[in-house]
């Protein structure tokens, strides 16, 4: 199954990148911190709605204001708007799209799972009552697109924790169908008291409040849930031929996309790895590569007991014998779970592995769960030539996504 003809010049490449995360707000900082095995998890102020006195998460310390003119009102924006605007504007500026490119030929896809809930909550916590009012406010993707001068299609998509990955998939489909010549894609999320409380009550969050740095421990025998985080990333995608024609710097290629659904449960993860493995297989087929051609898997693994084991099974199923020597890590062990922004952030992690020739580690992986047997990279980065990386993202409601990221030609 190939969605985009290979070698036809329609492959989608990344020509601009912006990131805001608990591990830094530039590609270089994020790569440095991931490969050094540093954790962004720390104790945070117990916010309204939190269940425990000691609350921990992986926050963004400070959201930098985008550089350049037109951002004078940055301080007046909500935290969600700031969290999205900075990496989006950074990626857009970094791509250096030619001035002659018609704005209507530039699209935008924002992956964001609970925009309204977050916006209502931010307003409510500041004394507003917008949630009670029958309003139809314009959504963030349209505000961002207008601010950045994007006049092509602008869509918000959501697949829970895989949202920003689906944004890349949709933007890539627009390029392939010639609906746009460039597309700004990605997604971000913010820490929210309501979301923290909901996930806590769902028993999805780690409760290791005595040692926050050790709380996010994907694939470990003693894992007990994930750690909430915030941030995300944006990318400018272009067709390879167009990027080459204008001599754009290419960070990497989105070589394959695979999507499937478990159709199992609205909340509970699926222990059957069949559909997750199918998404991986579809992505490999879309990229036109064999399992053995993949050099690194950035796992979704958030640290939940059922989800991590199911993903390990999916990787073994999809990659077959190649899985025995295929390095796998979960960067959520360091970044926490960026929820809507996770998939985009993990594309950045894959690009770091490709550009730095090293696989970032899974920190806190002290005792590998036998149910999660894979070629893990515990504690410290592993020097390794990475030409092709696969990044898994799975979300509530059974949404499965795999992206294959290839080094720039």
């Amino acid at each position: 199954m190939s969605f985009i003809p290979r070698g036809s010049g329609t492959a989608s490449v990344i020509t601009g990148l912006g990131v805001v995360s608990p591990l830094g707000n530039s590609f270089a900082d994020v790569a440095d911190n991931l490969l050094a095995g540093r954790s962004g998890v720390r104790e945070i102020d117990a916010a309204a709605g939190a269940r425990e006195g000691r609350q921990f998460a992986a926050p963004v310390a400070a959201i930098p204001e985008p550089t350049g003119p037109g951002f004078d009102d940055f301080a007046t924006l909500t935290r969600l708007e700031q969290m999205c605007l900075t990496p989006a504007a950074t990626a857009f500026a970094a791509a250096g799209l030619p001035g002659g490119l018609a704005p209507a030929r530039i699209g935008m896809v924002l992956g964001i799972g609970a925009e309204q809930l977050k916006a209502w909550e931010l307003d409510f916590l500041h004394g507003g009552r917008a949630v009670l009012e029958p309003r139809r406010d314009e959504t963030l993707v349209h505000r961002l697109a207008r601010r950045l001068g994007i006049a092509g299609p602008a869509v918000a998509v959501a697949a829970a924790c895989a949202s920003s990955g689906y944004a890349l998939a949709l933007g890539r489909s627009w390029l392939a169908a010639d609906r746009v010549d460039a597309c700004l894609v990605g997604g971000c999320d913010i820490l929210s008291p309501t979301a923290i409380a909901a996930f806590y009550n769902l028993r999805a969050l780690s409760r290791r409040s005595d040692d926050p740095h050790k709380a996010s421990r994907p694939f470990d025998r003693d894992r007990d849930g994930f750690v909430m985080a915030e941030g995300g990333g944006f990318f400018v995608l272009e067709r390879r031929a167009g990027a080459a024609e204008r001599g754009a710097r290419v960070h990497g290629e989105i070589a394959g996309v695979g999507m499937s659904s478990d159709a199992h449960h609205m909340v509970a993860p699926c222990s059957d790895p069949t559909q997750a493995a199918r998404a991986i297989g579809l992505a490999l087929a879309d990229a036109g590569i064999d399992p053995a051609a993949v050099d690194y898997v950035n796992a979704h693994a958030a640290g939940t007991p059922v989800g991590d084991a199911a993903e390990a099974g999916a990787i073994r199923l999809a990659f077959g014998p190649a899985a025995a020597t295929l390095p796998v890590s979960s960067t959520k062990s360091m970044s926490g779970h960026l929820v809507s922004g996770a998939a985009a952030f993990e594309v950045v992690a894959c690009l770091a592995a490709i550009q730095r020739d090293a696989v970032p580690p899974t920190v806190n992986l002290d005792a590998i769960d036998p149910a999660c047997a894979l070629d893990h990279v515990p504690h410290t980065a592993r020097p390794h030539r990475v030409r092709v990386a696969a990044s898994n993202s799975f979300g509530f409601g059974g949404a499965n996504l795999c992206l294959v990221i290839r080094e720039a030609a």
Partner: protein
């Protein structure tokens, strides 16, 4: 300014459709008994925690399945795009009010998975065993444009045999009291469309196509609604599918792209064209 294409792109064709409109007061009953005659059963109490948009959206899918010549056919290779317009507000408001009073213990673990943008699509996927992609799109005032554009884009760019597009809205946004209870009885509306890639020349079914925006004209577009609502879409689809005298209908997205619905064999039929897009432009 370079010259760029303004072409008619390959779209998809319609397999089935349904419109469901339910007053808020009747959604509780629908939640308990959502399955119409002839439609497949759902898992027990499946809609118990779902948002109102999801309840009505799932019902619309079931109605569309029941309308098929073979309602027992499998949809396991189908995907779902769910495009609600402002879902989750009633539960969201009640959650915020209760959490402010009682703290985090008052926050239901269902609020995020059931009131987020993905929830409608996920519910359809889970309820009916669909293993293609499931994805939320839109979420705000432009959900109709975003849902249509996303579904037509993905039906040809995924491994799915077809896609269900489910669009939902309140006819009037609910007015809530200080604790988040609705004070009126607005109508919740859902349209379900079963779409699949077109078989080579296929003039026997309703077709959906996207025309790219005219790049120059679209530069002058201000954001805003197109003036087309979900009820208009439902009427147009029904008219095109049922020989209602309309040969085509257009929806102009805020970014200028035109989504066109064309009746079967429209070119060969002398019926009138009803292009009701408010700012429709002819191709250059």
């Amino acid at each position: 300014m370079q010259t760029l294409p303004f072409e008619s792109a390959t779209g998809c064709v319609l397999e089935s459709h349904a419109l469901v409109e339910v007053p808020l007061a009747e959604i509780r009953g629908l939640r308990d008994a959502p399955v119409p005659d002839g439609a497949p059963a759902l898992p027990p109490r499946f809609l118990r925690h779902c948002d109102e948009h999801t309840v009505v959206g799932v019902r619309a899918v079931l109605e569309a399945i029941a309308a098929l010549p073979d309602p027992t056919r499998p949809f396991d290779r189908y995907g779902v795009v769910g495009a609600p317009r402002i879902a989750g507000r009633i539960t969201g408001a009640q959650t915020l009010v209760q959490a402010a009073a009682a703290g985090g213990i008052a926050v239901s673990p269902h609020v995020v998975p059931q009131c987020s943008l993905h929830a409608l699509a996920s519910a359809v996927s889970v309820a009916l065993g669909m293993h293609g992609l499931n994805l939320g799109a839109g979420g705000g005032p432009e959900a109709l444009s975003e849902g249509l554009y996303t579904a037509i884009s993905l039906v040809n760019a995924s491994a799915c045999a077809g896609l269900w597009l489910v669009l939902t809205e309140w006819d009037e946004e609910p007015v809530l009291d200080a604790v988040g209870r609705p004070t009126g009885d607005p109508l919740c509306r859902a349209v379900a469309l079963a779409l699949r890639p077109p078989a080579a020349p296929d003039a026997s079914t309703v077709a959906f196509t996207i025309r790219n925006a005219d790049p120059i004209a679209a530069c002058d577009q201000s954001s805003g609604t197109t003036g087309h609502g979900l009820a208009d879409l439902a009427r147009a689809v029904a008219a095109c599918a049922g020989g209602g005298g309309i040969t085509s209908w257009s929806h102009i997205c805020p970014w200028g792209a035109e989504i066109r619905i064309v009746a079967p064999a429209a070119a060969a039929r002398p019926a009138r064209s009803e292009d009701r897009g408010p700012a429709r432009r002819e191709a250059a």
